[in-house]
């Protein structure tokens, strides 16, 4: 899976969990202030990404995320490190 395909898959997961249209999930959207992602929703996204990509994500890394683009970058990086 290349980077674009990975990001498309992440967007599907985030959209499914936040119930926000996938077209609205642009990189600069702030995860807490705009999407209203709390720690439960964040962990639901994390658990779903872990299952989808067979990876492990440290909670601490999620804590530092500000935008949805940061989250895409994190997952892509973890996926790349796995391979």
């Amino acid at each position: 899976m290349n980077k674009d395909e990975t990001i498309t898959e992440i967007k599907k997961i985030v959209s499914q969990i936040t119930r926000i249209n996938i077209s609205e999930l642009s990189d600069e959207v702030r995860v807490r202030e705009e999407l209203g992602i709390d720690s439960l929703m964040a962990m639901e996204i994390v658990a779903s990404c872990e299952k989808r990509f067979s990876i492990y994500i440290d909670e601490e890394q999620v804590f530092n995320i500000e935008t949805i683009g940061d989250f895409y970058d994190l997952i892509v990086k973890v996926c790349e490190e796995k391979t």
Binding site: T18, R32, E34, G36, D38, S39, E59
Partner: protein, 433 residues
């Protein structure tokens, strides 16, 4: 005729410098602000109840400054107690400019004589019946100084107007509040809500609620729905009927509840499938002695022994709990701070809202504490829940305020965040497998 409807700016937290610095720098406190931002549904509802085709504008002063020279024929203000000082300032400014000013909301309902010193007309109780009559009287040049809901037939929520969310959709609220029902039978000593809404439960039709949700979804692309009902699940058959329709609507929402939802696993699964992500639940105290005197029917006390089991059952179904706790109840002593921290952390609550016992006007608590000469201040801007306003037999005002901040610092520190995140990760893993 042009009508301005105003929600005055408010102080959400204490003005103490260390509190302010904490709130500003705490990501979790910013999240709490996120949930509680946005005005309630009262002004959009009153706008919807306005007869005729009057020009209406709603101003949320927490977001937009008021232009006191804006031309208008009538100014309507609503306020809860902590907004009241500012509400009176706003009223005074408009009246200086010759505007007719009216006020409603919970504070004006419980202290109408005080409000009358600043406004021309006061509304006591719900406004759906009284407001249209006032508008007619005002246009006829004969407005009364007070309109009481008790002089009218009970408000029928099934005939409640569609709230005018179009008048506030220029504001980018993260949470938009609406309500499906009113009334709470628990009659907690500290709560004044029953003074305006009564203890008798009533609700809109599910079709009304669905229509309002769709309107909100069409106007705000990111906003989540917050149900302002004191308890969305008092009538379980109505809740079932309503939430059944949410599952295909693709939105997330929050609501206030009591712990009784935990007894019904089918309901919890429906809530989760219907987009419920957080329930705000009042635990009030970790000391059972405090709970015995909170409600006339001792309802909270009867739930105490099931707190942990109920929390687990709700959160294991993928619904986070924001628990609310009160410091300064009669049986509290210096152990209350550590006990509250321990309870929140050991139960892995998604979040917590801790306040100091506040003698809100209209509450039974205020009447009792007045008799006991225990109220320190009637400066309404301090009625935030973060200021100590009572004399307590075991705890000084400073101890209560310092303890409040200590709890927030502890519950929301990085270690406890990690612990909670790990707990919710396990739950989510179970739910998706």
């Amino acid at each position: 005729m042009k009508i301005l409807l105003i929600s005055p700016g408010g102080t959400f937290f204490s003005k103490r410098r260390d509190f302010g610095e904490y709130v500003e720098n705490s990501r979790e406190m910013q999240t709490i602000l996120h949930y509680w931002s946005g005005i309630g549904a009262s002004l959009p509802t009153i706008a919807g109840a306005t007869p005729g085709d009057e020009e209406l504008r709603i101003i949320d002063e927490n977001i937009e400054a008021i232009n006191f020279n804006e031309s208008c024929d009538l100014v309507g203000i609503t306020a809860i107690t902590q907004q009241t000082n500012r509400a009176y300032e706003i009223a005074d400014e408009f009246r200086k400019r010759g505007r007719y000013v009216v006020m409603g909301g919970i504070h004006a309902t419980v202290l109408p004589e005080e409000a009358m010193e600043h406004v021309d007309t006061v509304f006591v109780g719900e406004g759906e019946n009284t407001w249209p009559v006032f508008i007619r009287d005002f246009k006829n040049g004969s407005p009364k100084t007070i309109y009481k809901q008790t002089d009218f037939a009970p408000v029928n929520l099934q005939k409640s107007p569609i709230p005018r969310y179009d008048l506030i959709d220029r504001y980018t609220y993260p949470v938009v509040w609406l309500f499906a029902s009113r009334g709470c039978p628990h009659d907690c000593e500290f709560c004044a809500a029953s003074k305006i809404y009564g203890k008798k439960y009533k609700h809109k039709s599910s079709a009304q609620v669905i229509r309002e949700i769709n309107d909100v979804k069409n106007r705000w692309k990111f906003a989540q729905i917050g149900f302002a009902d004191d308890n969305l699940f008092l009538n379980k058959s109505f809740s079932f009927e309503l939430i059944e329709q949410f599952k295909d609507m693709n939105f997330t929402w929050y609501a206030q509840s009591d712990l009784s939802v935990a007894r019904n696993v089918a309901l919890l699964k429906k809530l989760r499938a219907g987009g419920c992500r957080i329930l705000f639940i009042g635990f009030e105290s970790t000391n059972p002695e405090n709970l015995t005197s909170l409600n006339v029917n001792r309802w909270k006390a009867t739930q105490y022994h099931e707190y942990t089991k109920s929390i687990n059952r709700i959160q294991e179904n993928g619904i986070g709990i924001y628990g609310s706790f009160i410091l300064g109840l009669d049986y509290d002593d210096s152990t209350v701070f550590q006990n509250t921290i321990k309870f929140i952390n050991e139960n892995n609550l998604l979040g917590a809202q801790i306040t100091i016992l506040t003698p809100l006007p209209g509450s039974r608590l205020r009447m009792r504490l007045e008799k006991e000469n225990r109220i320190i201040s009637n400066d309404w801007q301090l009625y935030t829940g973060w200021n100590a306003l009572i004399r307590h037999k075991n705890l000084s005002p400073e101890a209560l305020e310092d303890g409040l901040l200590e709890i927030y610092h502890n519950v929301y520190n990085r270690d406890n965040y990690r612990k909670r995140a790990a707990y919710f990760r396990r739950i989510c893993q179970n739910l998706i497998n």
